[in-house]
């Protein structure tokens, strides 16, 4: 069976030909039905641009996006509309993504009627109530007639999810979907999203800068690490977290502050050769990480773009120098 989503050699450029920013560079990614994939990386790595291309909000500059085996650029109108319904996005800011003048009920009944998921106002309202129940906004009658400003950030994000669910999506892109929510309620949102996967077989592309959240949400899924528009490492979450191979992944994991004093003390430091992130307008030749990489080999890393090679432990690593080398991230 074809993967639910496949990105083939995707490039995305912004700006003019004089000042061209390469936001995404030769990206290859396959996501199977029912998978949870976390796209992680720092700002400017291209993770959000990738997410927006996946849902059809941005066209790639070149390359192909296949949904259920079909190239979305070649789809007829009906198929394209079906794809746009099947792939939904949940944005970061629940304060900006909901219409402030609409009560919650209307936010849900409008797309239900528009996309013929309900035929009458009454059946749409019934379905809206079911959706609120799914996202744990109960008792439902308390929420139906409220406006976004009457809800907390966490509750608004639940409404965003319910709204995405109106069109029965197969694939959800969650772009920093819990980053703005208070820590005490983040986990319940993540658990609710995970339930959608098990109950409705929704496939997830979860985009985050927070490695701890990625680890928790995708514990049985996959992590994809991006740096300056390219994938540098990907693999099963538990392998990537416990046995990272790319020097950038290792640096990130070593650097991330830990909410645990014992772990914070035991973390080993990885010194980079430079703290400066290269400009996207003028990317280094070869491996884009080489000016900062402690293992860079002159003559090789500054000339050749490393291929993403599979490793026996799972996943793949874009570093010919270090792909077979494990390191300890914690002192005993």
């Amino acid at each position: 069976m074809a993967p639910i989503l496949e990105l083939k050699n995707i490039n995305k450029y912004f700006g003019s030909s004089k000042e061209r920013v390469t936001a995404v560079n030769s990206l290859e990614l396959r996501i199977e039905q029912g998978e949870i994939v976390c796209l992680v990386g720092e700002s400017g790595c291209g993770k959000s641009t990738t997410g927006r291309m996946v849902v059809g909000l941005l066209p790639p500059s070149d390359g192909q996006i296949l949904f259920e085996g079909q190239d979305i650029a070649q789809m007829n109108r009906a198929d394209y509309q079906a794809y746009r319904r099947a792939v939904q996005i949940i944005h970061q800011d629940p304060y900006a993504s909901l219409n402030p003048t609409q009560p919650i009920q209307q936010m849900l009944t409008t797309p239900l009627l528009r996309h013929k998921k309900a035929s009458t106002q009454r059946s749409a309202e019934k379905r809206a109530a079911e959706l609120l129940e799914i996202v744990d906004l109960t008792p439902v009658s308390d929420f139906m007639n409220k406006y976004p400003h009457q809800l907390s950030g966490g509750q608004r994000q639940r409404v965003s999810v319910a709204r995405a669910l109106t069109v029965e999506p197969k694939f959800i892109v969650a772009d920093e979907a819990v980053s703005m929510v208070d820590v005490s309620i983040r986990v319940s949102l993540l658990n609710m999203l995970a339930r959608l996967k098990s109950e409705f077989d929704v496939t997830f592309l979860f985009i985050t800068h927070d490695l701890a959240l990625a680890k928790y949400f995708a514990w049985n899924g996959r992590i994809v690490v991006m740096y300056l528009g390219r994938i540098v490492e990907e693999g099963p979450t538990q392998r990537v977290i416990t046995d990272p191979r790319h020097p950038y992944t290792q640096a990130l994991l070593a650097a991330v502050p830990e909410a645990d004093p014992d772990l914070a003390r035991r973390k080993k430091q990885i010194e980079l050769r430079s703290a400066e992130i290269p400009s996207l307008l003028n990317l280094p030749a070869g491996c884009t990480f080489h000016p900062r990489c402690p293992y860079a080999v002159p003559g090789q890393c500054d000339r050749l773009v490393p291929a993403l090679d599979a490793i026996a432990e799972g996943g793949s690593v874009a570093c010919p120098i270090r792909k077979y080398e494990s390191i300890e991230l914690l002192a005993a």
Partner: protein, 326 residues
């Protein structure tokens, strides 16, 4: 060696209220806290818990609609006791940079974009009565070397210009990338160790507390609900809210973790719940909690919690320990 720990700053029963159109917001409600010389204290808690307001009240930078009443803040400069809330004019200016400086959340916005970094430093020094241009230059160059000219770190150099003894940092790493966060954390740790500056970290991010603090104060609905050593707070919390926060936050290298949310939402600060304001979200709550707000109870010499049921929290944690490794 002087072995008695010096109380550097003392907050006594500090209340801060904001007058708003919808009513009186009780942002800080009776905080009593000693800051010891050389320590680093983290204030943790969610948005609206009062931690930033408390920080602003120490440097007297609250907005006009805020009132500090009642309350007393005492700063000790050598043998002199200074009533911070009574400071005005030049005395206040002197206190703000020389004794106590604050680094704000979006520090980049705190820069004047049309002044060069050196002009900015000189301006600050001169307005504090430091007119020896050469001396300011030397001091600033030393600081720039210290922060290794990293633009993200230069911001952290300014508050050190006049060598304050207390530095308050509000969300020092929020919205920064991971590798930048690490350089800031390492720099702050280095400053803490080498310059012996007393620090207060304000952050919703528990990792900042775990990485940098000796002591941690958990705030909820304007009060300190738990205060203890960093290990007490992370491994042996006695307030259900602290326990809830720690159970809600994943680590990266800590392996598989079962996490739990705290039910409900943060309280409405205009209409606080009766009794303990955490009771509507608390699984330990009894009828007593709905009526009477618990005081901060000293549990061990290093730890205090404002909970009638702290012993039940202890029992719960014996059955289900928090992240105990090794």
């Amino acid at each position: 060696m002087n072995t008695t720990v010096q109380k550097h700053l003392t907050l006594e029963n500090v209340h801060v209220n904001y007058q708003t159109r919808s009513g009186n917001v009780q942002a800080v409600r009776g905080v009593t806290l000693d800051l010891l010389a050389g320590e680093s204290l983290a204030l943790i808690g969610e948005s609206g818990s009062g931690k930033t307001t408390l920080g602003l009240s120490i440097v007297k930078l609250l907005v006009d609609t805020a009132t500090v009443e009642p309350g007393r803040i005492t700063y000790r400069r050598e043998d002199q006791e200074i009533d911070v809330l009574a400071l005005r004019g030049n005395q206040l200016r002197e206190f703000r940079w020389r004794d106590c400086a604050m680094v704000f959340q979006s520090a980049l916005n705190a820069f004047n974009p049309v002044l060069r970094v050196w002009e900015q430093a000189l301006d600050t020094a001169q307005s504090h009565g430091w007119h020896d241009r050469q001396a300011v230059r030397e001091r600033f160059l030393e600081l720039l070397r210290y922060v290794q000219l990293d633009p993200n770190r230069v911001i952290n150099a300014y508050p050190l210009l006049l060598e304050p003894t207390i530095l308050i940092l509000d969300e020092p790493t929020t919205a920064l990338d991971i590798l930048t966060q690490r350089t800031i954390i390492d720099l702050l740790r280095q400053i803490k160790n080498e310059k012996n500056i007393t620090m207060i970290f304000i952050s919703h991010d528990l990792a900042i507390a775990a990485e940098l603090a000796n002591r941690v104060a958990t705030m909820y609905a304007g009060r300190v609900v738990e205060l203890g050593g960093v290990e007490d707070i992370f491994y042996r919390p006695r307030h259900p809210y602290t326990m809830g926060l720690i159970r809600a936050v994943p680590t990266v290298l800590g392996g598989f973790e079962e996490l739990f949310s705290i039910p409900g939402s943060p309280p409405d600060l205009i209409n606080l719940p009766s009794g303990c304001p955490f009771h509507p979200r608390c699984s330990f709550a009894t009828s007593k909690c709905q009526i009477e707000e618990p005081p901060l109870i000293q549990i061990t010499p290093s730890q205090a919690a404002a909970c009638w049921h702290w012993q039940d929290v202890e029992i719960e944690l014996q059955n289900k320990p928090l992240r105990v490794r090794k």
